[in-house]
Structure formats: C-alpha cells, structure tokens
Point group: C2
Chain length 115, copies 2
Amino acid sequence: MSTPILSPLSFYKCLSDDTRLKALMLIYLEKELCVCDLITALELSQPKVSRHLADLRKCQILLDERRGKWVYYSVNPKLPEWAMKVLELTAHNTEAYLNEHITNLNMAKQSECCS
Amino acid sequence: MSTPILSPLSFYKCLSDDTRLKALMLIYLEKELCVCDLITALELSQPKVSRHLADLRKCQILLDERRGKWVYYSVNPKLPEWAMKVLELTAHNTEAYLNEHITNLNMAKQSECCS
DNA sequence: AACATATATATGATATTTCGTATATTAAAA
DNA sequence: TTTTAATATACGAAATATCATATATATGTT
C-alpha cells in the first residue's frame, strides 16, 4: 500500500470551484481536452482557465501533455479508485449543470481551434 | 423528476472544509451524532462545530432533530442518490483521515456526554 | 422563578481564494 | 530570426470564508 496521492480534503477543495468542477467534468467525459477547448466550452478568459487547470494539475487530479502548440489535459489514471468513482458519479448525474458547456464544446469541435 | 435539492457545486463546497468534511463523515458512519459528540471527536470549540453544522444543514445535506437538551444531526435521506454514494465512497476510503476522531468518539461514548 | 447545560448566532478581525491585467514561456510559421 | 499562436505565471485588488469571542436561545432542573 502506497500513500494516497491526495487527501480527501484537497480533492474536494479542487471540486469546490465552479470553473474547476466544470473543467474536470468535461475532461472526464471527453477523456482529454486542450485548453482552447475549455476556454470555448466554459466561455471564460484564458488565464482563468489556465490557473484553475494548474490547481488540478498540482494536486495530481489532472495530467498535462504538450503536443505542438497545444496542451492536453486528462484525468490522472493513478487517482485512487474511490476518487475516480466520485468523478464518474458526478459527471453522469449533473447534466443540467454541464449542459450548455457540452453544447459549446460540440460547436467548438466543428471550428478551427487545435485542429 | 423534481429539481435536485442541491447543486453539485454547493455540495462540494460543503465538503471542502476540514471540519465539515470530518463531521459529515462521522455522522454518515454513525447514522446520527449530537453536537457534543462532535465537539469531543473533533476536539474543536462548540461555536466552530455548530457553525459548520449549520452550513451543512442550510444546504440540506444534514437534518437536525432536537431531543431534550441535545440536537442530533443525521444525513438527509432525500439527498440525491449520486451524492449519497459519494459520501459512502469517501467514508469508507479515508480511514487515515478519520482514524483519531473515531477513536475520540468511542472514548466519548463511555463518558457522560448526552447520556 | 432562578439556574445550569447544550446549542445557535452575531460581530468584527484575519486568512484564504479568486480575479483581471500584464507579462513570460514555448513552439510553430513566415 | 522575427512574428504569431497557445498556454502559463506573477501580482495586487477584491471577494469570500473562517475564526475567536461574546451573547442569545432553548430545555431541563432545583
């Protein structure tokens, strides 16, 4: 048994901000998203999105991977299983909360961002 | 389908403070606890515990019931099922985080508080 | 009625979080 | 090598959360 990579408290602190919670849910549902996708989906400024993604990265909930000009974020597969299940439950039971952002995301995919 | 009694964001905001998260986990595990049990288990001041319980009550995660001089708190059974499962997963996968408080609680039960 | 006990709330001080703006970094393109 | 595009970070201001202390309320006891 290794020590868990994050405490329950820091995990839930990460989920306690609107931007972080929505970004995390969208990344969970889509497997991976680049920053520009999230800027469009959430209709927020670039620094605001980057700052919150950095929070999620620093507590190891998200991994980042640069590919060319773009940085892609995905859920860290090493998350404790209980935390992964929490993300699963939340993502699949908060449609109303995510609705418009998923719509934005689908529209974004037809446009030119990170093509 | 009725509207959910709480948004995912306000749910997670409630879990994002050490006192609230621990109190909620203990109440979940014990079914119900009175305020004096929590003061002992968490080793915190009475106003601090009451204030955080009030937060959990106001967003309808907890119910309160007065019996004589004591007020007992329990998890609201009307919580959305996904949220209830989140509590279940968290309570049963954060032993290290709750350990000493459960010890305190068991010691408290042998003493005179709310007997 | 006066008192004691358990709990709740008000208040102002302090700490923490979030934000907008400006700037830095990195990689590709020209 | 200059420029452009995508992303990250620094910094001070503003908003929000938390706290300790004092006080209020509610119940039971004498």
